[in-house]
Symmetry: C2
Subunit: 520 residues, 2 copies
């Protein structure tokens, strides 16, 4: 069962990824030290992860990477990250028999399926949770920070990070990056792929630092007393990767309106192609303003905010109590609308209000928003704006040729002819996304029927979309202030699968399976 | 504003269609005579329709039909049929001022928007209703039979019927038929398109006669006392075109189980490519069994019935009272499952039970079923089985070429290579269908918000799908025993548009608009 793949080479490289992941656990270790919490959880986790990574790495000291190995590496590096990410949860929840007592006894993450769900949800920047009680007291500041950090590590891409720090991977770097985020275009910012990877991570890092500084600054000047340095960092780890986890049970609703307003432009930025920021930093502002996808993304954001504001102002959300003074009600409706659109359009999933309690007209509107996705080259999930643009133009071309048979008309995006193979790939991706979404929603519905759990149609549909689009919250009991804890294990594992293939934009994982089937 | 179209020629041909439609109103006129009902409604309707048709026809005595004229003819012939079809409803509901009292005073169809909705729903074989009270006493047997007949006229295609009876249209007949049902393949059964059109209508007519004979036979031998000749004909006019209207308020649930069982194979047959029956009649049974689409359709039917039976037997439908004796409960679960799948898979929309009252697991399963559609060349609506087959194979090919770059692999269906242009057209159609469905669902939700009507997400979604897929019933208050009466007029008009473009498989109508836009 070789699948035509050099498994030793692929596994060795996955080992390298795991080895470096152990170092990232130093962050929660430092948090544990600062807060005087049990450091054993992360000492053991770091040791276990490092040993595992080093062992796998030994399988092939000089790995070669061809097209199939790239698919395997990318697919399995993410699975390995999700698996290794469970170690702190499992140790904190269960302890180690005869050696260590649990530091968070009876945590829902002591269950391996739950731990895998939470870890996958973090690395894939989904932000769907099965944590019973969201609290730094209950789970320690260190474990809660690890939960936040997983999102940040996944945001710009684990493989992109590896390429940035390991020049030897760069030989096949372009192909690897393409597989990790096979959007329609991977803009090479510089002739060398290593430098492109570094530039992307630098911009990402810069935005995160800016976010932390601004948020902590608000607390510093007395405008947001609960935006501690811990909270500023924790939400920085969640905002820029469009993650959505929060160490606060009330998510961003725990903070003052000023904090919510400040978060909005950062969320919007997280959904923009990071390559455009690279041009902006170099003074080329026009590349931003002239970018077709950016204009569509910005336009969609504005229109959706306007419609949602109108709905909210008309009283679509009873829990918001939009009565009050006119100015207050207007500010509240505008803020909630801007925040929710910025958060759901690009798949962040933060909430300042329990939109699962809003009325049905608003829910179907938010559901629609969740289908769009961020920009290619951003940390946002979903189908992505540029794909919808190409689909729209390709369908329009089909209609045109129906009325004008025997005419040939290329599809253009920003004046450039889009390659027919790329169009076919994009149409195939979008159909695959929609079909997988539909079939998974039905599976979730039937799986709940099997165990006698009353999952509504809206809950089934939103769970499927929230996982595949890496969005996080759904509707009903799966809303932003709810959790996926009560779903059957089979449903949780399906969601793990959906989050995984959703983050990798479906293609590498399924390409491997199809390739295998077609060869057997 | 010529749109590059010879409007006089197109309108003249639409006039011919209208002229012949006036003759079809002789059927309800005969019904009125037999039941001793007011004949004035249909005498006036026939006269008005005939005069209108003849007048339009005069615009161009010798019309030429090019590609654009074909699109206009097909698109507008259906609109004209729907418009003319409202005449009996409007006259029955309103009478004629100073001349004639209404024969069905205060009918909901006295409202022009409602009349247009009901007429469009009939001709497009959607079967969604805004009739307040479904009763032959209230509306006369004649008007209720006209409502049934509109479905039968629309079922095999108004244009196909015209080609069958008007040889002069046959010059561009193939293109016309292709536009009316632009499925991926129009099988020419005979070298001459007129004969193909006649063969299709003959098979359709034969099935309808057989249905009426069998159903009336059941009454004749005392197995179904309420299956009168009127009911047998009325349901024949509804079953073979996958329509779904019934003159009985309880739809097929008004009849005994034996009637329901007998209806099932006819509904299944209505979703099969009629070209295959033509081969079967000529003794070529293998063409049926070897047809890829038929096998997929039959397989899907069997699997969906099995799953739904299991759900129902586990008690997913409280109103069915599936307790009782084991044999009775099993028969009931099997019958309801087989009937509902046969009815919803190919877009018929008949019901033997109010599935809008079933549990949510079952609802999401039925919703999924409603996305599939019948076969190409059948009277069924929706995306259609063969398109899903091509989409599946095309996506699989994309995944294969991801793992095997630089390989070229054609998509094959039943051993035949599918043309790349056809694949692109099918992917474009399917995406357009799904996107139109989604956007329309959101529009219906927002439109109801505008007037303060509480349409749920499930109701919005099902209304959009029920109209675009020509299915008919939705969920909630829009279920098989409910009606669309309470929706705002704007929503009803959107549904009229969706039914129209859904019946024409979207392409001709939108192709005209896009062509216009691109030329301006
Ligand atoms: K997210
Ligand atoms: K129907």
């Amino acid at each position: 069962m070789s699948w035509g793949v050099d498994w030793r080479a692929s596994t060795s490289l996955v080992g390298t990824v795991v080895k470096y992941l152990s170092l990232t656990m130093l962050v929660p270790l430092v948090v544990a030290v600062v807060y005087g919490e049990d450091i054993a959880v992360f000492v053991v986790s770091i040791a276990a992860t490092a040993v595992l990574g080093l062992a796998l790495e030994q399988l092939d000291p000089e790995p070669d990477v061809g097209p199939r190995e790239a698919l395997v590496l990318v697919s399995f590096a993410w699975l390995a990250a999700a698996a290794v990410g469970t170690i702190p949860y499992l140790i904190a929840g269960n302890g180690i028999p005869f050696v260590m007592a649990p530091s968070a006894p009876a945590s829902t993450l002591a269950n391996p399926v739950n731990a895998l769900f939470e870890s996958t949800s973090g690395f894939t920047t989904t932000g769907a949770t099965v944590l019973g009680e969201i609290s730094t007291d209950r789970h320690s500041h260190a474990v809660m920070m690890w939960r936040q950090l997983t999102q940040w590590l996944g945001g710009m891409g684990i493989i992109v990070l590896m390429i940035a720090i390991l020049p030897e991977l760069a030989v096949n770097g372009a192909q690897l990056m393409q597989s990790e985020a096979p959007g329609p275009e991977l803009q090479k910012l510089t002739p060398k792929i290593v430098e492109t990877a570094r530039a992307l991570w630098l911009i990402y890092f810069g935005f995160t630092v800016l976010y932390v500084a601004v948020m902590y600054g608000l607390q510093f000047v007395g405008l947001a007393e609960n935006m501690t340095l811990y909270n500023a960092v924790a939400h920085g780890f969640s905002t820029m990767p469009t993650g959505g986890f929060s160490p606060e049970a009330a998510s961003i609703a725990a903070f003052k309106p000023i904090v919510q307003w400040v978060a909005i432009p950062f969320m919007v930025a997280a959904g923009i192609n990071f390559a455009l920021f690279w041009h902006v930093v170099r003074g080329e502002f026009r590349s931003l303003l002239e970018d077709t996808e950016f204009r569509a993304y910005a336009g969609a954001t504005a229109v959706l905010i306007a419609v949602l504001s109108a709905l909210l102002f008309r009283g679509a959300a009873p829990p918001l109590e939009l009565g009050g003074t006119t100015a207050g009600a207007t500010e509240n409706a505008l803020r909630q609308a801007a925040f929710q659109i910025a958060s759901l359009l690009n798949s962040t999933g933060f909430a300042t209000s329990d939109f699962a309690q809003w009325d049905d007209h608003t829910k179907i509107f938010l559901l629609f928003t969740m289908f769009i996705g961020g920009s290619a080259g951003s940390t946002g999930g979903g189908v992505k704006v540029v794909r919808w643009l190409v689909v729209f133009k390709a369908v329009r071309r089909e209609l045109f040729t129906t009325a004008n048979p025997n005419t040939v008309r290329p599809v253009r995006l920003a004046g450039q002819v889009v390659d027919e193979d790329a169009i076919r790939g994009i149409m195939g991706f979008t159909l695959l996304y929609l079909v997988l979404f539909g079939i998974s929603a039905v599976f979730l519905g039937l799986d709940s029927a099997r165990v006698g759990y009353d999952l509504t149609v809206l809950e089934s549909v939103s769970a499927s979309l929230a996982a595949l689009g890496n969005i996080g919250p759904g509707f009903g009991r799966l809303g932003p202030f709810g959790s996926y804890l009560d779903l059957p294990d089979t449903s949780k594992l399906l969601m793990v699968f959906l989050m995984w293939i959703g983050r990798l934009e479906i293609v590498p994982v399924l390409a491997l399976f199809v390739d295998r089937l077609d060869r057997s």
